[in-house]
């Protein structure tokens, strides 16, 4: 049963999105309470909230075309023909595009060499591969083949391959290479590594790609384009819900370009939270450790008894809030709840301050259980958070923020218009 409030929110949202210039402020305050699933408007709202689509509707099409083309170029450059741009024309024939052969050679000690980069990239790729395969293991979505596989331009003999095939081959090569090393040490040649990989793709034909392979490709591109961050575990948990949302869009054209759109929205989102992923920024003001410290400071402010209890038990914020903050709570709830929660997070004008409020709310909502338990019980509660009702948590978070601002004696009408 749809409540009157939900219906009016739906109408409000439709009205906002029909304007020629979408008001981000209005959109934020409307989406904060969750984008109604049945309208299929979440993908569009997120593209706006994450500043991928401009507010002016007339600019949408050109912006989308431009970004999607750019993505296509990057795929060609970094995945289909890596290193090609540095090589003479004749070194890259159609049959060995994924090989890199020229004056440069595999034993080139120069760290700038194309080969050296290629090998280093392979390590990153193998790591991404491990994680992309096991993204949301309880859902079959990521294992299924995509509706619109990314096809390459095709080589001279007219065969077209899906782009995923390039990364598959590259990963296979890495596995074979490591087997070859073992051959030198123990004398026994072991070729089964290749066979093992092959069986893992068995359910997909050469013209298909699985959704997790698309995620893998995006993460690899991101690592290539952002060498300072490269790939860190957890990025998969950030890109997963975005990609799921965009690739299940009701609009076919948007679905078809879900990959490129996800990539840019992910990039925009990461621009705001990436410092938490970077080890050497751990202790900086934007790093993960100061975020955790802020969280504990806010808890102390809001509920000193509970804070004290956690201190007594020596339950360090690292033990639970590291994951909460790093992947925006995506591992604590089932995907539909994560999407709902992210509606609110993306709608927060002071983005991700809300995340801290939510974390404090999560703690306070289970305070009685936390105050009762010993270390083990507390840890288990925090690592298997018992409440799945995201609305309840969001309500509490808003309440907490209000209270803080009450104390500052400046309470505007709407929680989202609050300034810290």
């Amino acid at each position: 049963m749809e409540t009157a409030a939900a219906r009016s929110r739906r109408d409000e949202l439709s009205a906002i999105l029909q304007q020629e210039v979408v008001s981000l402020d209005q959109l934020r305050s409307c989406c904060f309470h969750g984008v109604p699933d049945e309208l299929g408007l979440r993908p569009l709202c997120w593209k706006l909230l994450l500043n991928y689509l401009p507010e002016k509707k007339s600019k949408w099409e050109s912006a989308l075309v431009q970004q999607r083309n750019l993505y296509r170029v990057w795929t060609e450059e970094f995945i289909i023909s890596p290193g090609k741009q540095d090589l003479p024309e004749d070194a890259v024939d159609s049959s060995s595009r994924h090989d890199i052969t020229c004056d440069d050679h595999p034993l080139n000690p120069n760290p700038q060499s194309t080969w050296s980069t290629y090998f280093k990239d392979n390590e990153v790729l193998v790591q991404i591969d491990k994680d992309a395969r096991r993204l949301y293991p309880d859902m079959c979505f990521f294992q299924r083949s995509t509706e619109f596989p990314l096809r390459t331009a095709g080589s001279d003999d007219g065969t077209k391959m899906v782009a995923a095939e390039y990364l598959r081959r590259r990963i296979d090569q890495c596995v074979l290479k490591s087997n070859a090393i073992v051959k030198n040490r123990s004398g026994g040649w072991n070729i089964s590594g290749g066979a093992k990989r092959a069986t893992q793709y068995l359910n997909l034909s050469g013209t298909e790609e699985a959704h997790w392979e698309v995620v893998e490709r995006m993460l690899f591109l991101y690592a290539k384009l952002n060498p300072g961050q490269s790939y860190v575990q957890g990025m998969n948990e950030i890109i997963g819900p975005l990609y799921f949302t965009f690739s299940t869009d009701k609009d076919k054209t948007y679905r078809e370009h879900a990959e490129a759109d996800t990539f840019f929205c992910f990039t925009n989102l990461m621009a705001e939270i990436r410092d938490r992923f970077i080890k050497h920024l751990d202790d900086s003001s934007s790093g993960i450790i100061s975020s955790m410290n802020r969280l504990m400071g806010m808890l102390k402010e809001a509920d000193e008894v509970l804070w004290k209890r956690l201190m007594e038990l020596d339950v360090k914020p690292q033990y639970f809030s590291f994951r909460w903050l790093m992947v925006l709570l995506s591992q604590e709830f089932a995907l539909p709840e994560v999407l709902h929660l992210w509606d609110a997070l993306f709608s927060d004008a002071h983005r991700f301050d809300l995340l801290l409020d939510i974390c404090v709310a999560m703690l306070i909502l289970i305070r009685d259980q936390l105050l009762d338990g010993d270390f083990a019980a507390t840890m288990k509660l925090l690592q298997n958070y018992p409440i799945s009702d995201v609305d309840q948590i969001l309500c509490k978070a808003v309440q907490l923020r209000r209270r803080v601002l009450d104390n500052l004696e400046q309470l505007p009408e709407h929680p989202l218009e609050l300034t810290p």
Binding site: K130, D131, N190, K196, V232, Q233, G234, F320, R323
Partner: protein, 216 residues
């Protein structure tokens, strides 16, 4: 807890940390041991997961607190908060992945440097169900384990092979170590009898500063 102290079985609270490269099967091992479950896939571990298990060895009761840590290099810096005060460490590699065995060696070095000989080490070659793709020979691994004073086991979390034994053996060695430390303590302060009488020994209260040994 308090009631059981009447029958005075010694209760040991041990902290055990699982370390090793990503995707070698740390989470699978511990889930197999604690919950007797196995999933082909589960999400990668960020930070560390906390699990507990109770067991009885002879007349000793053991409460294990197990920290299953994240494998990726990014999280390496967080390692110390999980292995500090640990009584045992399980260092896991994947028998099909030689790199993961090299990572075990790095962990051994770090633990020895930080904790000396106080911590009991177990090295595990996991995924023996993939024997055909083995890339780390048993002899190599066993020799290495012996050279650093660790025990070595081969396991398959998938087929439930060898998992129970790992924790049993480690628990036995942690008990021995605890007894040894108790004896040393008693020898140091023969006048204070209070530590010897059937008290519930909380090993987390052992001195934080490890006995530095000459290794590494």
């Amino acid at each position: 807890m308090a009631a059981s102290a009447v029958a005075s079985p010694r209760v040991h609270d041990f902290k055990v940390v699982l370390l090793g490269e990503g995707c070698v099967g740390k989470t699978s091992l511990v889930l197999r041991y604690v919950e007797n479950k196995f999933n082909e896939k589960h999400e990668s571990t960020l930070q560390a997961s906390f699990l507990t298990k109770k067991l009885t060895i002879g007349n000793r009761r053991v409460n294990l607190s197990i920290w299953d840590t994240a494998g990726q290099e990014r999280f390496h810096a967080l390692g110390p908060i999980y292995y500090r005060d640990s009584n045992g460490a399980i260092l896991t590699y994947d028998i099909t992945d030689d790199d993961s065995f090299q990572k075990v060696k790095n962990w051994v070095k770090e633990l020895k440097k930080m904790l000396g000989t106080d911590i009991m080490l177990t090295i595990i070659g996991n995924k023996t169900d993939l024997e055909k793709q083995r890339n780390v020979s048993v002899e190599t691994a066993e020799q290495y384990a012996e050279s650093v004073g660790a025990t070595h086991f081969q396991t398959s979390a998938k087929l439930n092979r060898g998992v129970e034994e790992v924790f049993l053996d480690l628990s036995r060695r942690m008990i021995e170590q605890a007894d040894k430390q108790d004896a040393e303590k008693r020898a140091l302060s023969p006048s204070s009898r209070s530590t010897a009488a059937g008290n519930v020994v909380l090993l987390e209260e052992t001195p934080a500063a490890p006995i530095k040994s000459g290794c590494c």
